[in-house]
Structure formats: C-alpha cells, structure tokens
C-alpha cells in the first residue's frame, strides 16, 4: 500500500468584504509575515500599503528599457542616414544636426521598448506564465474571481506554524480556514 505525501502550501482564509480584507492585511503585516498574499476579485486602493509591500523595481527596468530604445533608434538612424549613406533631404545637413528628423523614430522606439519591458518585466517579476498554482486545489478559492476575499499564509514563511497560523487567521476575522496541500506531481 502506497501513501502519497503532500507538501503543505499554507492556510487559506476567507474574509467578508474588501474592508475586512484590508484590515486583516494590516494585522498580518504587523505580525511580521513575509510570504503571504491577498486575493480579491478587483484592485483595492491602498492595499499595497496595508500589506507593507515594497515598491516594485519595474519602473527602473522600464526606464532603462526605454533609454535602450532611444539609443537604438538614434544609432540606427544616424548610422544609416549619416554614416553609411548620407541622404540630403530638403537641404538638411547630414550630420548630428539632422537630429530633429530622427526624433519621431527615437520617440516611437522609446515607447515600444518601454512597453515591451513593462510587459515582459511584469511577467518575469510575477513568475508568469505558470501552469498551475497550489491554491487552485481549493474549491472555495474559485470565488476569488467573483465575490470572495482571501488571504493565504504560506508554509515557507518563517513565522508559519501548523496550529498558530490557523488560530491567527481566525483571530483577525478569517472564516472557512483551509489547509492547502500541493497536489502530487
């Protein structure tokens, strides 16, 4: 007889409303948890502050992504229009002072590269795409895309304990507390 051992992902608790979720998030933050997340059907203003989230590094990635676009466009236009094949259009000089003519391309590539960095940077930071998530094992979690507000405390958090965390979620107003186990591969 074989037994399957399942790895514990953590505890999932449901909260009544967005404001209950917000207040609970502040308490989880103050209790010092780091590996946990809130799940709600829609964005809640100020929840990042209530969760104590640090600012994402995405803006910096986008800034350098955008700058790469600007420089790429400039080099592309300058090399082709000035260095390799100087083109005189409407008596414009073929040197650095043709710059205004390159601006539209520089502008567009800045936008394009920024857009790409935003999208792919975001996906990378969120570790997406992925095929499954342990929380999908929970039946009630399906409601997080409809009318359910959830907090999940993960087992890999140093503060996590099998009984303490369950009681803690109950104390801060969580209901239908459920132990989530990862499905065997």
């Amino acid at each position: 007889m074989s037994t399957t051992r399942k790895r514990v992902y953590g505890y999932l608790a449901e909260f009544k409303s967005a404001s209950a979720l917000y207040k609970a998030a502040e308490k989880v933050r103050d209790a010092g948890f780091t590996k946990w997340d809130c799940y709600s059907p829609y964005p809640i203003h100020g929840l990042d502050g209530a969760m104590g989230l640090k600012r994402s590094i995405l803006p910096y990635l986008v800034f350098f992504g955008g700058m790469t676009g600007t420089i790429t466009a400039f080099l592309l236009a300058y090399t082709t229009q000035v260095v390799i094949y100087p083109t005189v259009v409407q008596a414009k000089p073929t040197n650095f002072f043709t710059l205004p003519a390159f601006f539209p391309i520089m502008f567009e590539l800045t936008i394009l590269f920024s857009g790409f960095t935003t999208l792919f940077g975001l996906l990378a930071l969120m570790k997406l795409p992925r095929f499954n998530h342990p929380l999908f094992a929970s039946k009630q979690f399906e409601r997080s895309t409809d009318d359910g507000f959830f907090i999940a405390l993960e087992a890999r958090d140093p503060k996590f304990s099998a009984t303490g965390s369950k009681d803690f979620l109950g104390e801060i107003g969580g209901t239908s507390i459920e132990l989530i186990e990862e499905e065997p591969a």
Partner: protein
C-alpha cells in the same frame, strides 16, 4: 493612508483665510500694481516714441504670461467639473480662485485697444488703417457683417452650383491692390472683428469662471446643500468648454501670432494651451502648498493630492514638448519660405541659444525630475519644481513675443528705432517693469479671491471622498 477623515473633522463653516495675515502682502501687491501701472501708462502713451514702441512688446509679454496662468486655471476648473472628478474636490476652490483672476486681467489688456499701441505691435492694423483710413467705422462694421453673411451664402452657392460670387467690400477691394495675402485674410483679420474678439475673450470666459465659482461658493451657505450644485456645474462645464477652447486659440492668434500676419501655424493654439495647463497647475500647487504651510487645508489635502497634481504637471510637460516639437518639426522639415520665418528669427544669434535652452530646460530637466514618484509626493519639493516651471514659462513666452520686437519696430519706423535688429538695447528693463506690474496685479487679485470664501468646498458631497484619497 493613516487616518480616515470623517465629517466631524470638516468645520461647519469651512476654513476662512485670516485676512489680517494677508493684509500686508495684499497692500504691497496693490501698491506695486498701482505704481507700475502709472509708470506703464507713461511709457506706453507719453514717453518718447522709442520707449513707447519697445514697451508695447514688454506689455504684451507680461500680459500674456499671466493671461495663460489664469486661463489655465479656468481649464482645470472646467475639466474637474466636466470629468466628474472626485479626487480634487478639496483643491477645486484653489483652481476657481486662480481662475477668478482672469476677468480682472482685462484691466491690463486695455492698452492693446489703443491704436497708438497697436501701431507698434500689429503691422496688419497699420496697413488696414492706411488703406482704409477714410472709410467710416460704421461702414467697416456693416460691410464686415454683410461679408460674413455672404460668406455663408457663398458656401451654399458653392455646394449647389460649384461657383462663388466675389464679395463686395470697399476695404477688401482696396486691400486687393495693396497686399494679396492681406486681402485673403481680410474676413478674419479686420479691425471690427478683432475688437469684437478681444472683448469676447474676457466677457465670455470671464462669465464662465464667474458662474462656476459662484455656483461652487453658493453651496457653502445653501441651507439645503445636495448634489444640485455639483450636477449643475458638470452640465454647465460641458457647455462652457468650447468657449475656453475658442478663447485660448484665438487669443493666441490675435495677440501673438498677429504680430507677424504673414506667418501661420495651426498648432499654435494648442502650443499656447499646453503652456497654460502646465503653469496654472504650477500656480495651483504652489498656492495649495502655501495655504497648507499657513495651517489651512490640513484635514482635506494630503500628499496624495500633490501626487496627482504632480502627475498632471508631468503629463502636460510631456504634452508641451510633443506639441512644440510637432510645430517645429513640420516647419523645419518642409522648409517652405513663408513658414520658416518664425523659427528663423528665433534661431538667430542669442535667440538660438535661448531656443535650444528652452528644449532642455522646459522639457528634458523637468521630465527627468518629475519622472520620480517619491518627489511628487513631497509637497515642498513639488512646489519647488512648480516654481521652476513658472520660471521656464517666462522664457517660453519671452521667446514667443520679444524676438518680434527688433524686427517689427525697425520695419515700422526705422528712423526712430534704427534698422531691423535682433534685439533692442536696454529694452529688457521695460520687460521686467511690465512683468512686475502685472504680476503684482495677479497676486493682488488672487489673494483677494482667496480671502472671499471658504478655502475648500466644505459642503460638497464629495469632500470626504477627496479627503480620503488614495492613488
């Protein structure tokens, strides 16, 4: 968000500015305005011709600078109402107060109505007066009205028959022989219509901001405040917005672009509007910051409001650059003789350095600074950036108005002003005088408006939404 503001923290009668605190500043501003105005009247009408000519340009420069600030605030008020915004209810009164300076600026626009001042600024008017000097004003007006009617009729005629009839007008007939371009533009550029438009800018938009502000302040004392004022303001603002668009576009055309009647650019009105929107937002930020520092608006304005205002400042900085470059780029690239004049003048000698500096100072520097989120959340730093933007806006308007001076004056009367030149020696002193005079007037009327009513619409149904803003 640390603290949730409730209706208990909103004073029943609102917050009123302690008038004794601003009395001194108000008196100084009034005194500077009066003394400056007296000096200006002398320089514009009684001084030697050389001073009169160069000071006329100083006056237009200063007038238009503060005109853009007040006009932009009218824009923000209208936009706030029409977009049904909740975030800015607590700073809306500041927008209305800055906007309420607008009708008062008509006092400073009076000199532009005098033919002696116009003769230095607008060469097309000289041409009209020379060609049609003996035609009675009433005839000019009636011919223009008949011409406008004919213009409509001709439109229909063209649709149905494909032909148009020539328009009968003594003025147009004479211009036909004098200057063909002037003849073509006659339907728009003629004295009766110009006077009509100049009056309408202040009357129409002045009425708009007066009504909106009145609607807002009436709520403070209305025994039965509800959503009526809010919805009325939204409905009216939608109807009023076209007036703002027409005012900013045609004021820019008539007062600034009219200085060189041969040049044209359809982007010009948008370009001026972009400057209005940035810099009046700057004034709103600074005013809000100073009020908060003096101990007002503490409950209702937070760093979130400054963050949003900073974002708007940033957005319009980018918009300004986009529009300005669009205008420059098409003219630079097409390189058509009659279009390049504007930029040729501004790319000559010292003006060239100023033009390049404008690109860096008005776009690159604020773009990089305002890109940072933390900075926009610090009211004092954001106010410093706003002050900086107002300073660069001086350079922007200066570059629009002043390069025309040496050229037009030399063209109009080279015996008095010497030959056409890039700039006129010593004229900058007049620029400063005019700027200080109208600036003092702006500050005076703004302080007066701030002292009149509660500093924020404390009975607005959305004030708590605004006070608890997060973004």
């Amino acid at each position: 968000m640390s603290h949730h503001v409730t209706s208990h923290e909103i004073p029943v009668n609102g917050e009123h500015l302690d008038k004794s605190k601003i009395a001194k500043a108000k008196t100084i501003a009034l005194a500077v305005m009066v003394i400056g105005s007296l000096l200006s009247v002398y320089l514009l009408f009684f001084a030697p011709k050389a001073q009169q000519g160069s000071y006329s340009y100083s006056w237009v420069f200063a007038l238009f600078y503060f005109f853009t600030l007040a006009l932009g605030a009218c824009f923000w008020t209208l936009l706030h109402n029409v977009s049904n915004s909740g975030w800015g209810t607590s700073v809306r009164r500041v927008m209305e107060n800055v906007g309420s300076v607008f009708p008062w600026l008509s006092i400073f626009a009076i000199p532009l109505l005098f033919p002696s001042v116009q003769s230095y600024l607008y060469e097309w008017m000289n041409m009209h007066r020379k060609v049609g000097g003996d035609i009675p004003t009433m005839t000019l007006i009636s011919e223009w009205l008949a011409g406008s009617w004919n213009w409509v009729l001709n439109g229909f005629r063209y649709i149905f028959t494909g032909e148009t009839l020539p328009m009968a007008s003594t003025m147009a007939d004479r211009l036909h022989h004098a200057d063909h371009l002037m003849y073509n533009k006659h339907w728009y550029m003629n004295l009766p219509f110009w006077y009509f438009r100049s009056a309408m800018f202040f009357i129409a938009l002045g009425y708009v901001i007066y009504r909106l502000r009145k609607l807002s302040t009436a709520q403070d004392t209305d025994p039965n405040p509800g959503t009526v004022h809010l919805f009325t303001a939204r409905r009216r603002a939608a109807a009023f917005l076209p007036i703002l668009a027409l005012t900013v576009t045609f004021a820019a055309f008539d007062w600034l672009k009219g200085m060189d009647y041969t040049w044209f650019s359809t982007m010009y009105g948008v370009y001026i509007f972009a400057g209005c929107a940035i810099n009046s937002m700057g004034v709103i930020i600074i005013t809000t910051y100073l009020l908060r520092r003096a101990g007002y608006l503490k409950n209702v304005v937070t760093q979130e409001h400054f963050h949003i205002m900073g974002k708007l400042l940033f957005a319009f900085t980018v918009f300004w650059a986009y529009v300005t470059f669009s205008q420059y780029f098409l003219i630079w690239y097409a390189n058509i003789t009659e279009e390049t004049r504007y930029f040729l003048i501004r790319n000559t000698e010292g003006w060239n350095i100023a033009s390049i500096a404008l690109v860096i100072l008005h776009f690159v520097v604020p773009f990089v600074i305002l890109l940072q989120q933390w900075l926009k959340k610090k009211p004092h730093l954001l106010s410093a950036v706003a002050v900086y933007m107002l300073l660069v806006h001086i350079l922007d308007i200066y570059l629009i108005v002043i390069p025309e001076r040496g050229i037009s004056l030399g063209n109009i009367d080279h015996k008095t002003f010497g030959n056409i030149s890039v700039s006129i020696q010593g004229a900058w002193m007049g620029d400063i005088l005019a700027f200080v005079t109208i600036g003092a007037g702006f500050v005076f009327f703004l302080l007066r408006a701030l002292g009149q009513h509660s500093l924020y619409p404390h009975r607005d149904p959305r004030i708590l939404e605004s006070a608890n803003l997060t973004n």
